[in-house]
Amino acid sequence: IAPVRFDGDKVLRVKLQDEKQANIIKDLAKTSQLDFWYPDTTHHVAANMTVDFQISAKESQFVQSALDQNQMHYEILIHDVQEEVEKQFDVKED
């Protein structure tokens, strides 16, 4: 099986201000494939928490506009996960 690739996947960071924003993320997780990096899973998402999640290239536009529409500030921690996967090996064989 060819290894999974993450070309164009992003990792977003959202600082949840309140319960409403936490519920927006939970709802988004029902319609889009959010792979949570922190916390481990949707169920742990709560108000006043910082959440990091990976989103595929094809869904990131939709998710980012949903966050914009709800005036939810987010940060893009990683712009291309595949690139970071390859860049993590940044020490030459000694």
Binding site: F6, D35, F36, Y38, P39, D40, I78
Partner: protein
């Protein structure tokens, strides 16, 4: 030939197995390898026992790699064994610790998942067991321990990243580790497990917001350990009970070991805080391991002094 092992790089499973053999071969008096069981896909689960000259004494159990994608964790366990063997007889503190304390080090807990994260899916977390009546693979080994195992309903879906498994200790990996710790309980005085990321030092409980009887003591140790950790590179860690510091979790190895009777149990969430997350570059392996080593040595010294 699995290729050259390096403490400054991430090593795949074949390199780690070869490395365990090399450590036993290079330090036959200090290092022995114990096969404590096999995984779902029949890979061996190896614990390295590190001991100074005398044999019978207190012990500390450390495990790494329970979640496959957290690669910095196995890197630390390899570094710990390397430093222990390299500085024994040279560094006064390490020599004193090793002359009074045995270490059981499980370099990779979730071997099948680790292999999968190298060969198929870098973001894999769980083990690779098949789930009945589901197309979804894997159990979260850190929800599979027999401690408040079914207290959270959301861990009951095999397609969830935190699926707890069909029963407590249902997974061969969990059973092997639990059996080993139970059979060495008399000597094991502390349990330390390594995860990533978010730079935290955690102690029980995760399954309840209640505090363990010796929480003040655990908090004191965690505070000093995180202070010591921050000295070389000013890496800031937070610390506290799992439930209130990170989020409530059931079936964790930390709570299980504590309730079994090991009253000093800690979980490290290593670097970083999200800039790279699970994809921490190799250039950060050494500084991460060096700073973590300082914290672990403090904890070990404390255990040596304060446990009977």
């Amino acid at each position: 030939n699995p290729g050259r092992h390096s403490y400054a790089k991430y090593n795949n499973w074949n390199k780690i197995v070869a490395w365990t053999e090399k450590m036993v071969h290079k330090h036959p008096k200090m290092v022995s390898r114990i096969k404590i069981g096999t995984t779902v896909e029949d890979n061996p689960l190896y614990v390295l026992k590190i001991a100074g000259k005398d044999k019978r004494r207190k012990a500390i159990f450390m495990d790494c790699g329970i979640h496959a994608r957290e690669w910095i964790s196995p890197a630390f366990c390899q570094w710990f064994v390397y430093q222990a063997t390299k500085t024994y007889g040279k560094n006064k503190i390490m020599t004193k610790l090793l002359d009074r304390m045995n270490f059981y080090v499980l370099p990779v807990f979730n071997v099948d998942g680790y292999i999968w994260s190298w060969t198929q899916n870098r973001m894999w977390r769980k083990n690779r067991s098949r789930n009945q009546n589901s197309k979804c693979i894997g159990t979260d080994l850190n929800r599979n321990f027999n401690v408040s195992w079914n207290s959270f309903p959301n861990t009951n879906d095999p397609c969830q990243e935190i699926y707890r498994g069909p029963a407590p200790e249902s997974e061969k990996e969990t059973k092997a580790v639990s059996d080993f710790i139970r059979s060495h309980l008399k000597s094991i005085k502390a349990y330390i497990t390594f995860h990533s990321y978010s730079q935290m030092l955690l102690f029980p409980y995760g399954y309840t917001s209640e505090l363990p009887p010796n929480h003040k003591n655990l908090a004191k140790v965690a505070k000093i350990a995180t202070d010591v950790l921050s000295t070389p590179y000013e890496t800031h860690y937070t610390y506290g009970p799992i439930a209130s510091t990170i989020y409530p979790t059931s079936g964790s190895s930390l709570d299980w070991a504590y309730n079994l009777g090991i009253k000093h149990t800690f979980a490290f969430e290593l670097r970083d805080k999200g800039r790279f997350g699970f994809l921490l570059p190799e250039s950060q392996i050494k500084p991460t391991c060096k700073e973590t080593m300082l914290a672990v040595k403090f904890i070990v010294k404390y255990i040596l002094k304060h446990t009977s």
